[in-house]
Symmetry: C2
Subunit: 423 residues, 2 copies
């Protein structure tokens, strides 16, 4: 790979999600050579993918080019590539565009969808772990409605209109709410010749409550809010199979829907070359300094890493905060000393969690207070606007939200690239 050899130590960062981005930003101009590798040329703000999927925001509003973020930074190199293998014994990584030596390596590869071996679901469902996948969901939702118009078969029509979401975590809850709002505000006007009341929005969760990462207060609240919006919620229900029209649940129940959105599981995206004994629960085992067990100069952060604490014995939650905090922790320590043994342990600060359900409806848990309804929703809005990268993005998202709110509208119901399933 064409990266100049300098006298400075080279830190290679794999992945520009929350963890990699915050590490790299904090490390800029700190006397190291930084090399950021990512499959995309932009940082994508995952918490708002569901709004891209439901025609509320454009992809450009939640994505920001890496080269712009690091514009003017010295000794910073970005390469758009995929990492194939880490060769720890020689301190090199192999990528689709060649090999590269590293002095320090930060694995911040994030997570991908986990289908738990359900092949039919993997082939026929819609995951939402990239901007592109979010756009596919938007397209397919609209394509299915266009198709429903052409059908004389009532059952087929209903199936084409209906959406099944598997997974009652924040992603599933937010999607269910947003799709229920489309059904209420937009689709009946757009498709007056369809009986949109026949459209079902199913939300399937294997646990006995939604949002199990949050408190029962929030779970109940989300449940009631979604129920009031007409979402069919199936708790304690596992999906077994999907034939493209019907999902088959473990309790024998069958639900029809031509679109199944998979929000039920993620797994760490572990690059090749990380040996089995370094992996636990599908994530890379790290010590208290986020260092990969057994390797002196390789670190893993965010979703990719299994950092265990008393409160989280199976690893920190796979959300933005642990990744951001770990990225910053590593950066501040690297800047202080290269003697890792001298570092203090990483300590995770739980800043709370939140999920929006719809118009004026959200649940927000801060360390000392639990909010619901309107106030939780406002909190959610501010936190997300604040976290977006780039002034233009903040402004454009704010304007879109204001217009969507006051006009009960979603203007981006565009099928720019029709979704076609590879088969």
């Amino acid at each position: 790979m064409n990266i100049p050899n300098e006298s400075k130590k080279r830190i290679v960062i794999v992945g520009g999600g929350f963890g990699g981005l915050h590490f790299a930003k904090s490390m800029a101009n700190a006397g190291f050579q930084l090399v950021l590798l990512d499959k995309q040329n932009y940082h994508a703000f995952q918490p708002l993918f569901y709004q891209v999927a439901t025609a509320g925001l454009e992809p450009g509003s939640i994505a920001y080019p890496f080269r712009k973020i690091f514009s003017g930074k010295k000794d910073f190199y970005f390469r758009m590539t995929e990492v194939l293998e880490i060769k720890a014994e020689s301190n090199t990584i192999c990528t689709t565009i060649g090999e590269l030596y590293y002095d320090y390596l930060i694995i911040a590869t994030g997570a991908t969808s986990n289908f738990f071996g359900l092949d039919n679901i993997e082939q026929r469902s819609m995951p939402m772990k990239s901007v592109s996948e979010a756009l596919d969901i938007r397209s397919l939702l609209l394509q299915n409605f266009e198709k429903a118009l052409l059908s004389d078969d009532l059952k087929e029509r209903e199936a084409l209109m209906s959406v099944i979401i598997v997974g009652g975590g924040p992603t599933g809850v937010e999607l269910a709410g947003a799709i229920a709002e489309l059904r209420k505000d937009i689709l009946p006007k757009d498709y007056p010749d369809l009986d949109v009341r026949a459209m079902d929005v199913h939300l399937i969760e294997a646990n006995d409550r939604l949002l199990k990462v949050m408190s029962s207060f929030s779970s109940e609240n989300a449940y009631n809010a979604l129920k009031s919006m007409g979402v069919d919620i199936w708790l304690n229900t596992r999906v077994k199979d999907y034939d493209g029209k019907k999902v088959f649940c473990s309790d024998g129940r069958e639900l029809s829907g031509a679109m199944l959105i998979w929000a039920a599981g993620v797994k760490a995206a572990i690059p090749g070359g990380i040996s089995v004994e370094k992996i636990s629960g599908g994530r890379i085992k790290v010590d208290e300094n986020c260092r990969v067990i057994g390797l002196s100069n390789v670190f893993a952060i965010g979703d990719a890493a299994e950092f265990c604490t008393e409160v989280f014995p199976n690893g920190l939650p796979m959300v933005a905060q642990p990744a951001i905090q770990q990225g910053r922790y590593l950066a501040s320590n690297f800047k202080r000393s290269l003697d890792v043994e001298s570092w203090k342990s990483f300590e995770y600060k739980d800043l709370g969690s939140m999920a929006t359900i719809g118009r004026n409806k959200a649940v927000t848990e801060l360390p000392k207070v639990k909010l619901k309804g309107w106030i939780a929703w406002i909190a959610w809005l501010f936190v997300h606007i604040y976290q977006l990268v780039g002034f233009r993005n903040k402004l454009v998202v704010l304007i879109n939200w204001a217009l969507n709110y006051f006009r009960h509208s979603r203007d981006l119901r565009l099928i720019i690239r029709p979704f076609k399933r590879n088969s």
Copy 2:
């Protein structure tokens, strides 16, 4: 096709570009059944495609869903489909989703790229006649820069960075200007390890001047402005062939560039079933009422139609204004009387033409005055904001333009879907 049979006369409109859209909008709630057919589910504002291609605007800012435009209109039906054949003898059209009877048919199919039989160019160049193609240009431009970083071969690097635009009409001029601005303001900052000065922007035109649809005043002005921005302009030059790296001109000249944008020709998109004798100069022959020669209830407007006048003996220019005016003309006459013989002839009002070249630079020709520079540029901005469909689009475009202007920036340099050539 699932369209209810009503006692009202059914008007089928093929194509929701400027002509079809303005006809349909003027005809809404006028006592007819309207059926609008289009391959896309949105109206796309073609004059700003070049800004999508050059990372200045998002596709969602220049596209607007048909269903939103016609929301609440009675007896209006939209179907997303492609027309295969017109069967005038039985008053039916065949589409990919079935047949449909019409009382009146409006052909507003617009135009597609014309490669004049140059197969290699058709296969290897980038046209820009759809939102999707504009996004492909954006992606490829950025992908080529990422690739250039990996090459040690100076010649290859230069070719990967360089862009060849064929066609010196408004589209070619606007693209050349926008890409020259990227080269000046954005790319050197984004790619400090590339020598962006080695990037060429070629603009090739077969005629002896740019913007031949406008006056020599504007041609010279555009020429000088582009020259001052470092665009290499080749007048009186035809392209013969392209191998993906080099374009071969008829005078023996060879220019290298890994991206060739084809803006050199369009041809009417004529649906099947229109017989040869009804076609002239590649467009559908129409009478003074925009009616297809020899057919009593079929009309053609805009790019698809060859409407000849004294000033334009080979048909009106293939731009927005003739389409819009013809659409409105047909609508107002339909609403007045179905006796086409009683209609006054269509009269084209030349409102002028304009092309933007860059920051504070444009040429604008109004019926009585020719403008250049800053004032022409302001005129261009206002006209385009005014013509955009939808308040959100107007606002978001305005904000993007303001930010791009004051910050010399284009934030949307995102490769959301990498361009892959089918081969």
